[in-house]
């Protein structure tokens, strides 16, 4: 049979067979590659689905935890509100009775009272008045914590000018205070809280310079690294730095009522407001030389 075909035909036959085999093998390889690729993809898809399911589960758990915490906080806030409401109403009524009836005593029984008697009544009245002031201040602090913040870009120069004007008109009309306004960069903050911070610090600066002949208050800002620092500096009574950790406590004072009036709530409010913005507040001073109060706010503008 081989003799029937000649060499050329055999070669062609072989070539034909070789190509066929080659094509078949090639197709087989492609198929195998396809199958492997498919299996791989499926595996990856399964992995991805598993991961996504894991993430969804974690999210659900997180949301459940957030809901629980929010519920806890809501209860706490409501309790605080009830407390504040109660404080304002129920504590003040007896105070009013105390001052009122002490006055009735003073007026109706005046002839029967000697100087000491009148002095004693004065003490009762003063203390009742003071307690009323303390209650009002505590309410201010609690009110501050309750309100939600609305952040916006604040023109600090305009704000400080307005605060200084208001303070001078209302509290320090009869004093001559030199106020030096340096460059004040804008801040990203809640306008009411920012106003409260500056009002308390500048009012303190003005108050504690009453003992100096020439009262100077300087207000400015500077950037340090990623922080924007604002400062209020005065040349007033100052304080001893060893008491600096008492500065921002509620109702903490470093002076007596005779030296300087006040309840010691101003700086506690400043600290609370600054912390709510994620900032920090600190002070430097020297007794008799003056004090500088610093605080940071998010950069604005």
């Amino acid at each position: 049979l081989v003799s029937k075909m000649d060499a050329a035909e055999v070669l062609t036959e072989v070539r034909y067979r070789a190509v066929t085999i080659f094509v078949i093998v090639f197709v087989l390889i492609l198929c195998v590659a396809g199958v492997i690729s498919y299996l791989y993809q499926t595996r990856r898809l399964e992995d991805r689905k598993r991961v996504e399911e894991e993430i969804r589960k974690l999210n659900r758990e997180l949301e459940a935890r957030v809901r629980l915490r929010t519920a806890e906080l809501s209860v706490a806030v409501r309790d605080l509100e009830a407390f504040g409401y109660s404080v304002s109403h129920d504590l003040k009524a007896p105070l009013r009775a105390m001052t009122g009836f002490a006055n009735i005593l003073a007026e109706d029984y005046a002839p029967k009272l000697d100087d000491n008697g009148r002095r004693v009544i004065g003490v009762i009245n003063d203390n009742a008045r003071r307690m009323g002031q303390l209650i009002d201040d505590l309410l201010k602090l609690s009110h501050l914590g309750k309100q939600a913040m609305s952040i916006s870009s604040i023109d600090v120069t305009a704000l400080v000018r307005s605060v200084c004007y208001e303070l001078r008109e209302e509290l320090f009309r009869d004093r001559s205070i030199e106020v030096s306004l340096k460059a004040l960069s804008p801040a990203q903050a809640d306008p009411m809280l920012a106003r409260q911070i500056f009002t308390n610090l500048i009012s303190n600066a003005m108050k504690f310079t009453a003992c100096k002949e020439k009262a100077v208050v300087e207000i400015g800002s500077y950037d340090k690294g990623r922080e924007r620092v604002y400062y209020v500096k005065d040349n007033g009574a100052g304080f001893d730095m060893k008491y600096e950790d008492k500065l921002f406590g509620v109702f903490q004072r470093l002076h007596t009522q005779e030296e300087f009036g006040g309840t010691g709530i101003g700086l506690a409010i400043v600290r609370s407001a600054v912390l709510r913005h994620g900032g920090r507040v600190w002070a430097e001073a020297e007794a008799g030389q003056g004090a500088t109060f610093y605080f940071t706010l998010p950069k604005g503008g």
Binding site: S88, H89, K92, A93, R96, A97, G100, N103, R129
Partner: protein, 148 residues
Amino acid sequence: MNNHEKVEVLLVEDNPNDVELTLRALKKNNLVNDIHVVTDGAQALEYVFCAGAYSGRDIKVPPRVILLDLKLPKVDGKEVLRRIKSDERTKAIPVVVLTSSQEERDVIASYQLGVNSYIVKPVDFEKFVNMIAELGLYWVVINKQPVA
């Protein structure tokens, strides 16, 4: 008390100390002679609407002004305010809320109910007396009201 006499001031206040202080302050300034005091919300409504113990009263002869505390037993101050201001026969009576509460929601709620004035009682007695005197002067003497 003569139910037919025209009353200048109806004082609605449950705290006896505050009643004593308010009466003293009003009388001190010779502003009013006829003050009637009720000590809870239910009595206040009976008085204003001439019902119950006050059914002998004439609803066409209302008090010149009602001084109303918000926190009252039985019927709450806001409810009393609502009832007075939503009745045609009584809504013209000036109502001055006199309270210890300076909570914003109380102020808003009172004004929405039609209160004429909202005053926060000061703790300091002298300020309280001056304030009552001013209130009395304003609502009883200065402010013009329609002739009953």
